[in-house]
Symmetry: C2
Subunit: 202 residues, 2 copies
């Protein structure tokens, strides 16, 4: 986004002061990545979906990698809410984390960003690396500080595994009853497991 705004202020391309065009291109790219995969996505198809000239997509984004990066960048609210959940009081932190995850996936644009990130991580090593790094650092920070670092790393992995599995079944594969269960029920069922992984006896 920042890059797009910088560029639009130059004399080389159309004005896009509020980032309207680049936002539309990013959303179109995200849909293409979700539906066609990384290798199946083309600048032409993105342009068609965004209803802009392909040259304009190339003007804002120099490569498919740059588009993928923009399409899978988590929104600021998501990062703020994640930070709040991760630093909430330890005894109920598991509950705050799972609530944040389930809500984020159910939020229209954020949910699409997470879905695109998860699906692209299966086939694109750079996306996978970004995701691994952000999961590890977030969830290590969520574990009890008094524990040794190696133990915290294992716990972060366990937290990630339960969260990823839930997201996959509820939001991607849509396995019932998890897919349509009310948020409060999901939170109630998963929170004790996460809490155990964060600071309980393994």
């Amino acid at each position: 986004m920042e890059k797009a705004i910088d560029k639009s202020e130059s004399a080389r391309g159309p004005r896009d002061d509020r980032g309207v065009i680049s936002t539309r291109i990013i959303a179109a790219a995200r849909e293409e990545f979700i539906n066609q995969g990384v290798s199946g996505t083309t600048f032409r198809a993105i342009a068609r979906r965004a209803d802009v000239d392909p040259a304009l997509v190339h003007y804002y984004f120099s490569s498919k990698e740059a588009l993928l990066d923009a399409a899978t960048a988590p929104p600021p609210e998501f990062l703020e809410n994640a930070k709040a959940a991760i630093s909430s009081p330890l005894p109920t932190r598991g509950q705050h984390i799972i609530k944040h995850v389930v809500r984020s996936w159910a939020t229209p644009e954020t949910g699409d960003i997470l879905r695109a990130t998860f699906l692209c991580a299966n086939v694109d090593e750079k996306t996978r690396e970004k995701l691994r790094a952000s999961m590890s650092s977030s969830f290590i920070g969520a574990t009890a500080e008094r524990l040794p670092q190696g133990d915290r790393l294992v716990r972060a992995g366990l937290v990630s595994s339960q969260i990823i599995g839930l997201c996959w079944l509820r939001f991607i594969w849509k396995l019932e009853p998890l897919a349509t269960m009310p948020e409060s029920e999901v939170v109630g069922l998963l929170a004790p497991t996460l809490q155990k992984y964060l600071n309980g006896r393994l």
Copy 2:
């Protein structure tokens, strides 16, 4: 496989009594599905990878759907071991199930079949439906019989979520330390969670 053997006995095509050619085509298809996705996989690329004429792929498999079905069919040993784990004594069933899953993914051909199934389920509704059905029926059968059906269904979902998340991180996204942790350690860490989901207090 059965279909392929039936066909090879007819007068219409080459003999393939031991299923050597069809097995090679299925393995090639699986690799293509894993690497190119469902929409990116072509009969021509499968033929090239299997080192056979494209006409031979068409001879054995009438459609991409038939190939996908064959490429994601779990091997008999996997099904037998799954059945044994699911019907093992309830107090240690969680441990048997997670051990079976982790071993199966680490077994060369079975691991590829599971990987292909998981990845294709993201983009192909029929594969997803097959997977959902087999997960639910297996894991409902693993929960404590004395519980009400609705409760068992929820528990089967929880078991699935923890298993899917672990497989994703250990075998697909390769998040450390889960990715390279010894099998016995993974089993020890996950078994209590699965056991709780099978017959513990939620």
